[in-house]
C-alpha cells in the first residue's frame, strides 16, 4: 500500500502541472469579442450538411467561395451543423470568437426558433437566412431572408426532360410533400406537358432530406417502371444522378451542377446562383447601405439558372427551353394560369384566373397537378 501511496502523490503533482500548462495555453491565445479589426466584411456561413454534397450545401458553399475571393471579404463556414441548440452556439461562436458581422445560416430549420432567439441578443450583426421566412413587424430588424424561385428552373428542366424522353414517362424522387417540393414537382410536370401534353411524372417521396439508400431504391423502382428521365428534390442529388447513369437513363439535376456525376445522361438541371446573392449583400454592407430584409427572385433577378445542356439535347428541344427561359427573363411567364386541374380531377385554378410567381397563395400548395402520378399523402 505504501508504494501506491507514493505513486499517487507524484502523479497528482504531475497532473496538476499538466492541467496548469494546459490552462495557460488557452489563455495565451484568447480571442475577445472584438469585431474584425480590419475594414473587411466578415461573413460566416452555416451549412446543415457537407460542403461537397453535390447538392443544397454545395450550392451555398460555391456561393461562399465566390464571395470569399474578394480581397475585402473575410468569409468562413461550418458544415454539418444540426438544427438544434448547436446552431445557436455556432452563430454565437462565429460572432464572439471570429468577429462575424453577417451570418448566413442556410438551412430552413435554422430560422425558428434558433435565429429568432440569437438575433435580438446581437443587434449589430446581420442574420440573413435562406428560406424567405422574414415577416416585417414580426421578426427582429437585423434578420433578413433570401430565396430563389427555383421552380422556374425546374419548369425549363421539365421542358428538356419532356422533350428528350422516349417513353413520355418522367420520374421525381422527392423528400417530403411540403409546398416547396410540390411546387417543383408541379412546375417540372407543367414544363414537360407544355411541350408534350400526355407526359406523366411518377413521384416517390422518401420521407426525409437525406436518405441515400431509399433514394437509390426509389430511382431503381422508377427505372423498372419504364421511366427514362428522372429528377429529384432531396438535399444531395448525387445518388439519384449516379443511379440513373448506371441504369442507362437520363436525368436532370437539382441545387447545383451534377454533370460530372452523369456525363452521358445529365440533360440539364435546376441550379441556385447564390454567388450573385452573396456578392450583392457584401457590396451593400461594404457601402454601408441598408440591406433589404427580403430578397427573392428567379431567372430575371439572376438567383436561379439551368445547367448547360448536354450535347445530346436536340436543337428543337433547346429552342423550346430557351424560349421559356426568355419568357421568365422578361417577366411575362405565368406558370399557374387556369384552367389547371390537380391529379384527382379537381379544378384548382379556374379558367381565366392566374397566380403570378410572387402570389402568396402558391406558398401553401398542397396538391399535385394533373399528370403527376402519386399522392401528397404517401
Amino acid at each position: 500500500m505504501a508504494a501506491s501511496r507514493k505513486l499517487t502523490r507524484r502523479q497528482l503533482l504531475q497532473g496538476t502541472a499538466a492541467a496548469g500548462a494546459l490552462g495557460m495555453l488557452g489563455r495565451l491565445d484568447w480571442v475577445g469579442e472584438a469585431w474584425g479589426a480590419s475594414d473587411k466584411v466578415t461573413m460566416g456561413f452555416i451549412f446543415v450538411g457537407p460542403r461537397d454534397d453535390y447538392g443544397y450545401n454545395q450550392a451555398h458553399f460555391e456561393g461562399k467561395s465566390a464571395v470569399a475571393k474578394l480581397d475585402w471579404v473575410k468569409a468562413f463556414d461550418e458544415e454539418k451543423v444540426p438544427e438544434t441548440v448547436e446552431v445557436q452556439k455556432t452563430m454565437e461562436s462565429m460572432i464572439k470568437q471570429s468577429g462575424a458581422q453577417v451570418l448566413f445560416p442556410t438551412s430552413f430549420g435554422y430560422f425558428d426558433p434558433h435565429i429568432l432567439k440569437v438575433a435580438p441578443q446581437h443587434p449589430n450583426v446581420l442574420f440573413l437566412h435562406c428560406g424567405g421566412l422574414y415577416q416585417a413587424g414580426k421578426h427582429p430588424k437585423n434578420v433578413g431572408s433570401y430565396f430563389g424561385y427555383i421552380d422556374e428552373a425546374q419548369y425549363v428542366a421539365g421542358i428538356v426532360a419532356g422533350g428528350m424522353s422516349k417513353s413520355g414517362k418522367l420520374g421525381f424522387v422527392a423528400a417530403k410533400p411540403i409546398p416547396q417540393v410540390l411546387r417543383n414537382i408541379n412546375n417540372y410536370t407543367l414544363g414537360a406537358r407544355s411541350v408534350r401534353p400526355n407526359c406523366t411524372t411518377n413521384v416517390i417521396f422518401t420521407g426525409d432530406w437525406s436518405l441515400p439508400v431509399r433514394e437509390a431504391e426509389a430511382t431503381n423502382s422508377l427505372v423498372d417502371q419504364g421511366i427514362d428521365v428522372i429528377t429529384c428534390h432531396v438535399d444531395s442529388p448525387k445518388v439519384v444522378m449516379t443511379t440513373c447513369e448506371a441504369r442507362g437513363i437520363s436525368c436532370t439535376g437539382y441545387h447545383c451542377n451534377q454533370a460530372k456525376l452523369a456525363p452521358r445522361g445529365y440533360l440539364t438541371g435546376a441550379e441556385w446562383n447564390w454567388a450573385k446573392v452573396y456578392m450583392d449583400y457584401a457590396e451593400m454592407i461594404r457601402k454601408g447601405q441598408k440591406v433589404p430584409n427580403l430578397v427573392r427572385g428567379g431567372f430575371k433577378e439572376g438567383l436561379v439558372r439551368v445547367s448547360a445542356y448536354n450535347e445530346v439535347v436536340t436543337e428543337a428541344v433547346r429552342k423550346q427551353a430557351d424560349a421559356a427561359k426568355a419568357k421568365f427573363m422578361s417577366g411575362e411567364m405565368v406558370v399557374y394560369k387556369g384552367p389547371i386541374k390537380d391529379n384527382t380531377g379537381r379544378v384548382v385554378i379556374a379558367a381565366g384566373k392566374e397566380h403570378v410567381q410572387t402570389d402568396i397563395w402558391l406558398e401553401s400548395m398542397d396538391w399535385l397537378v394533373e399528370g403527376v402520378i402519386g399522392s401528397t399523402k404517401s
Partner: protein, 350 residues
C-alpha cells in the same frame, strides 16, 4: 489511501492513458492532413474550455448526452447492450409535446411537470419493449432497440406531418407550439437551460441506485451471471424491465427537454443523433453513471471545438468524428488492460 480510491485508480489511469494515446494518434492524423497538431489542440482547447462562452458551449452539448448515455449504461449493468436511446428521445419528446398541447389552460408548472412525466414514461416504455423482448422471447436487444429507433422516427414523422401538424408549419412540418409561457427557462446567470442540471441529477441518482442499493446489487449479480442470479432467486425479468424503464425514462426526459427548453414544438429535429452519441459516452465511461458526466463534457467539448477547427484550420467537420472514433477504439482496446497491472491487484488475500 482509502480502499475505494485505490479501486478507482486502475480504471482512472487506464482511461487517462487511453485518452493520451488517442491524442497522439489523432495528432498524427491531423499532421497527415496538413495541419499543425499543437495548434489544432490549442484551438480545440480554446473552443471547448478556453473561455466562459466556450464552457457554456461545451456544457449545453454535454447535457443531452448525459441523459442518453444512461439509456445504454444502465442496461449494461444487466449485460444488455441497448442502443435505443434515439428512439426514447424521439418518443419522449413527441409525447411530451402532445401532452402539453392537450392542456392549453393549465399553469406552466403543471404543464412542465406533466410533460416531464409523460416524456419519461414514454421513453421508459419504449426501451422496456426491447428489454421485455430480450427476457421473454430471447430477441437480441441490440437489434430490437435499433429497430425501435426507426419505428419511433417513422411515428414522429407520421404524426407531425399528419394528425398533430400545425397547418402554419408549411415547409417544416411540426406540432403546434407549446406556448412561450410553458417553455423551460435558463439557469440564472448563464446561457444554459436546465437540462444540464437534470442530466447531473439523473447520473448521480442512477449511480446511487446501481451501486448503493439492494436493487443495484441484484442487477449487477444478474448481469454477471444470469443462471446464478436465477438460482439465488433473484427476479431477473423484473430487474431487466425496471432498469430498461429507468434508462428509457432518462432518454425520454432528454427528448422532453429538447421540446420544452429549445424548440417549443416536436418535429424532425428531435432526431438529432443524441441517442447515438450517448452510446459512445456510455462505452467510454464503461457504463458508470458518475463517469458519464466528465465523458459527456469531453465529448461536448470535442463537438464544440469543431466550429473553430473548421474556421481557423479549414479542416472538415469529419475531423472531430475521426477523433471520436479514435477515442472509442482505443478505449475498447484498453478494456484488455484491466487486471494486468499487479500494482492494482489485491495483495495477500485472494
Amino acid at each position: 489511501m482509502p480502499k475505494s480510491l485505490h479501486r478507482a485508480l486502475e480504471p482512472f489511469l487506464i482511461i487517462v492513458g487511453s485518452l493520451s494515446v488517442s491524442m497522439v494518434l489523432f495528432g498524427a492524423f491531423v499532421a497527415a492532413a496538413g495541419a499543425n497538431p499543437f495548434e489544432v489542440y490549442q484551438t480545440m482547447y480554446r473552443a471547448a474550455f478556453g473561455t466562459l462562452f466556450s464552457w457554456q458551449n461545451t456544457l449545453i452539448r454535454a447535457a443531452p448526452l448525459m441523459l442518453t448515455a444512461l439509456c445504454t449504461a444502465l442496461p449494461g449493468y444487466l449485460g444488455l447492450i441497448t442502443i435505443g436511446g434515439e428512439g426514447a428521445v424521439v418518443i419522449g419528446g413527441l409525447l411530451a409535446a402532445i401532452a402539453a398541447l392537450t392542456m392549453p389552460t393549465a399553469p406552466p408548472m403543471i404543464v412542465l411537470v406533466t410533460m416531464a412525466l409523460v416524456g419519461m414514461v414514454a421513453g421508459g416504455i419504449w426501451l422496456t419493449i426491447g428489454g421485455a423482448l430480450r427476457h421473454y422471447r430471447a430477441v437480441n436487444e441490440t437489434i430490437s432497440s435499433l429497430l425501435l429507433n426507426y419505428i419511433a422516427i417513422a411515428l414522429l414523422n407520421h404524426l407531425v406531418t399528419g394528425t398533430f401538424r400545425d397547418p402554419e408549419s408549411l415547409n417544416h412540418p411540426s406540432t403546434h407550439h407549446i406556448g412561450e409561457a410553458n417553455m423551460l427557462g435558463l439557469i440564472p446567470g448563464t446561457d444554459l437551460h436546465w437540462g444540464l442540471v437534470f442530466g447531473v441529477v439523473a447520473c448521480i441518482l442512477t449511480w446511487f441506485l446501481m451501486h448503493h442499493t439492494v436493487f443495484g446489487f441484484a442487477s449487477q449479480i444478474a448481469g454477471g451471471n444470469v443462471r446464478a442470479a436465477q438460482i439465488a432467486g433473484l427476479p431477473v425479468g423484473r430487474l431487466i424491465l425496471i432498469v430498461c424503464f429507468v434508462a428509457g425514462a432518462a432518454g425520454g426526459l432528454a427528448g422532453m427537454l429538447e421540446v420544452a427548453a429549445i424548440h417549443g414544438r416536436a418535429n424532425d429535429t428531435l432526431n438529432a443523433n443524441y441517442g447515438y452519441a450517448g452510446i459512445l459516452v456510455a462505452f467510454v465511461a464503461r457504463n458508470n453513471p458518475l463517469a458519464i458526466m466528465p465523458v459527456a463534457v469531453l465529448l461536448g467539448g470535442i463537438r464544440a471545438s469543431s466550429g473553430l477547427l473548421q474556421r481557423v484550420h479549414e479542416l472538415p467537420d469529419a475531423t472531430v468524428l475521426v477523433m471520436q472514433g479514435i477515442i472509442f477504439l482505443v478505449i475498447l482496446f484498453s478494456e484488455t488492460l484491466y487486471g494486468r497491472f499487479s500494482r492494482f491487484q489485491k495483495q495477500g488475500v485472494s
